[in-house]
């Protein structure tokens, strides 16, 4: 399956992926309108220090500790894509405890959130990939 991969060599630390991610989550038509005066809470996040930066988002692991550890069964895997049923999540944070990438975070709707490869929003190429100005985030099939 196609996954999002990042290459820190090309990451500029511009954080646009975070904004594209947040925008995709709003299902809005115009980013200016959707994100004006909003503190974004994206599912992809940049780590940066001393000129090094890279984006981190859900790896959609083959052995997903979040799915296995979820106490409510809110996580599920479909076609390799791990998604969260926000209605079933009780925000116990067992997944945050489990994820070795730190890719799961509290959402604004009381559940937890993580990258779902935009399958619920724009579908197709994820927003972060489309919005990366330097090819540092790619969406491709790898072994």
């Amino acid at each position: 399956m196609k996954r999002v991969y990042v290459n820190e060599k090309w990451c500029l630390g511009c954080h646009l992926c975070e904004y594209q991610c947040a925008f995709a989550g709003t299902n809005g038509k115009d980013m200016a309108r959707s994100l004006k005066n909003i503190k974004i809470n994206p599912k992809i996040k940049i780590e940066e220090k001393d000129g090094v930066s890279f984006a981190v988002s859900c790896r959609h692991c083959h052995e997903p500790l979040c799915v296995k550890g979820c106490i409510t069964g809110a996580f599920s895997v479909s076609g390799g894509v791990i998604t969260i049923d926000h209605n079933r999540c009780v925000s116990c944070y067992t997944c945050i405890l489990s994820c070795p990438y730190g890719a799961i975070s509290p959402s604004d709707d009381g559940a937890v959130q993580k990258c779902e490869l935009c399958v619920k929003t724009i579908k197709g190429t994820p927003a972060c990939v489309e919005g990366c100005p330097n090819g540092a985030i790619v969406f491709e099939e790898r072994g």
């Binding site: 990451c11 500029l12 630390g13 511009c14 646009l16 904004y19 004006k36 000129g51 100005p133 330097n134």
Partner: protein
């Protein structure tokens, strides 16, 4: 602090209805124009630092930014223009030579824009390039005068070394140092993909790029930076740089700040030292001296590689070219006065040299008149902006063109002409690692390939229109050109008729 007489050249116009304070502009501006004010959750700008490179404009995800030329003007004066006054103030404050970069932007005639191309109607029908083969391949190098045969009548291969190009375009010299590693990689990979050549410039060849040798011209300039036998043998041709269109008559100066570890290794000079290319080659004061260097280089490369001599288009360019054509050189490259540079004194860039169109026409005619046109191929550069310019250049007598500014534009350059500052926001004319990484060669080389592919299509369209199916048949075919708004003298030099004639 003394009063700064200068008013900012540009204003950053931010549409606060659209700005979401994502700070991408702030993070992407090496000139530190933008700043986020946390208390206000608001972006602010220092217009004075803006160089109009459009990096922020391009990356702003909500299109909240635009850069406008500063509306403020000095009291109107068609003699003492605002630009002239500003330059004067700058020098009065610094005492220094004004520096500029990229090509001459001033209002001199662009002859390419006063020349129009022919097309077939009724007779000599035009050709549809989508249905019929159309050849854009060219070979550069000395062509033998005669066909030689051995005693049994078999043809002796007396063909001197040739460069083969899929289309009559090469990326002209830009040194590693003046442009970044990633820019070089983009050019090299694109050249490989396209079947054309790029040029190392005078900074030597980074060890990583030896693998693109089949698509490389290695340059030898007055500073001789990075020149060694392996280097000379790594490419398919060697170029002796005598001059550059942007700054004829002077050398180059790459400041020590740009001599990073890698650049110093490649140039074979100490890290941090200034790289100064002398104005002349100190061993060349005549065509005979040039001939010595040409043959030294041929000797060093076993006579397997054509030698290019590159000169700036200056007043007596035709006579100089004539000499070069007799020096043993295989190719003459002529760089017109619009040619680009990473840094040049403003006055040199803007006031020295002649237009490439006139130089090319003059040189081609002179060599033909002297019967030595076959001694050399002609490559012209200095602001080839489109496929139409290429077609016109070829029809005026060029075998091939050099492009550089156009290639950099494809890589993201916005012609802000601030290369000399070393803080290129597009990762091209800089050695700052955080800026260099902004140019991803994976993206860059594809854009170059796209541009050249598009131009090749257009060249074929225009050739087809003229009923010509091989670019070789267009070379020097000045009947395919007509001038508009040119005087008799200009038409005479260009060797073309006026439209309507």
């Amino acid at each position: 602090m003394a009063v700064n007489f200068l008013y900012p050249d540009y204003e950053v116009a931010r549409n606060y209805d659209r700005c979401i304070s994502c700070r991408a502009c702030e993070r992407q501006c090496a000139n530190k124009v933008h700043e986020y004010i946390e208390d206000l959750n608001k972006m602010v700008c220092d217009d004075a630092k803006c160089v109009d490179c459009h990096r922020c404009v391009s990356l702003c995800p909500t299109r909240a930014l635009k850069i406008i030329e500063s509306g403020n003007t000095y009291k109107k004066n068609l003699n003492w223009t605002g630009k002239t006054i500003n330059e004067l103030y700058r020098q009065a404050s610094s005492g220094g030579v004004l520096l500029s970069s990229m090509g001459n932007p001033e209002d001199y005639p662009v002859y390419f824009d006063k020349i129009l191309i022919n097309a077939s109607q009724v007779t000599n029908p035009s050709i549809d390039p989508l249905r019929e083969p159309m050849e854009t391949k060219v070979f550069l190098g000395t062509k033998p005068e005669d066909i030689e045969r051995d005693e049994k009548g078999r043809i002796i291969n007396n063909l001197p070394p040739q460069i083969s190009l899929s289309m009559p375009v090469m990326f002209s010299a830009m040194s590693y140092g003046s442009i970044s590693y990633n820019a070089h990689e983009s050019l090299a990979r694109a050249a490989e993909k396209l079947g054309i050549l790029y040029n190392t410039g005078e900074g030597g060849l980074h060890e990583d790029f030896y693998r693109y040798g089949k698509n490389t011209i290695v340059q030898v300039a007055s500073g001789r930076f990075g020149v060694h036998p392996e280097y000379l043998n790594s490419g398919v041709a060697i170029e002796i740089k005598m001059g550059q269109g942007a700054k004829p008559g002077i050398g180059g100066h790459l400041p020590g700040a740009k001599i990073s570890v890698d650049v110093s290794r490649t140039r074979m000079i100490p890290e941090g030292s200034d790289a100064i290319s002398p104005a002349p080659h100190h061993d060349i004061y005549s065509i005979e001296d040039l001939r010595q260097l040409v043959f030294s280089l041929k000797e060093a490369t076993d006579y397997k590689k054509p030698v290019i001599v590159k000169i700036a288009a200056v007043h007596n360019v035709a006579a100089i070219a004539s000499g070069i054509a007799r020096s043993g050189a295989d190719i003459i490259a002529i760089d017109g006065f619009r040619g680009g540079t990473g840094a040049a004194p403003t006055r040199m860039r803007d006031h020295v040299g002649i237009p490439i169109e006139l130089a090319l026409a003059g040189v081609d005619k002179r060599l033909r008149d002297e019967g030595i046109r076959g001694n050399v191929s002609l490559v012209v550069g200095g602001s080839i902006r489109s496929s139409a310019d290429i077609v016109k250049a070829v029809a005026l007598g060029a075998d091939c063109v050099y492009i550089a500014t156009a290639a950099l534009l494809a890589l993201g350059c916005h012609l802000c002409r601030s290369c000399q500052g070393g803080k290129c926001n597009w990762g091209i004319a800089t050695q700052v690692p955080e800026l260099v990484k902004r140019l991803n060669p994976e993206i860059g080389y594809k854009r170059l390939v796209n541009l050249m592919t598009a131009w090749q299509h257009e060249i074929k369209e225009m050739m087809g229109g003229m009923g010509i199916n091989s670019i070789e048949s267009l070379r020097g075919n000045r009947l395919m050109l007509r001038g508009v708004g040119l005087n008799e003298k200009e038409l005479e030099i260009l060797g073309i008729k006026h439209a309507g004639e």
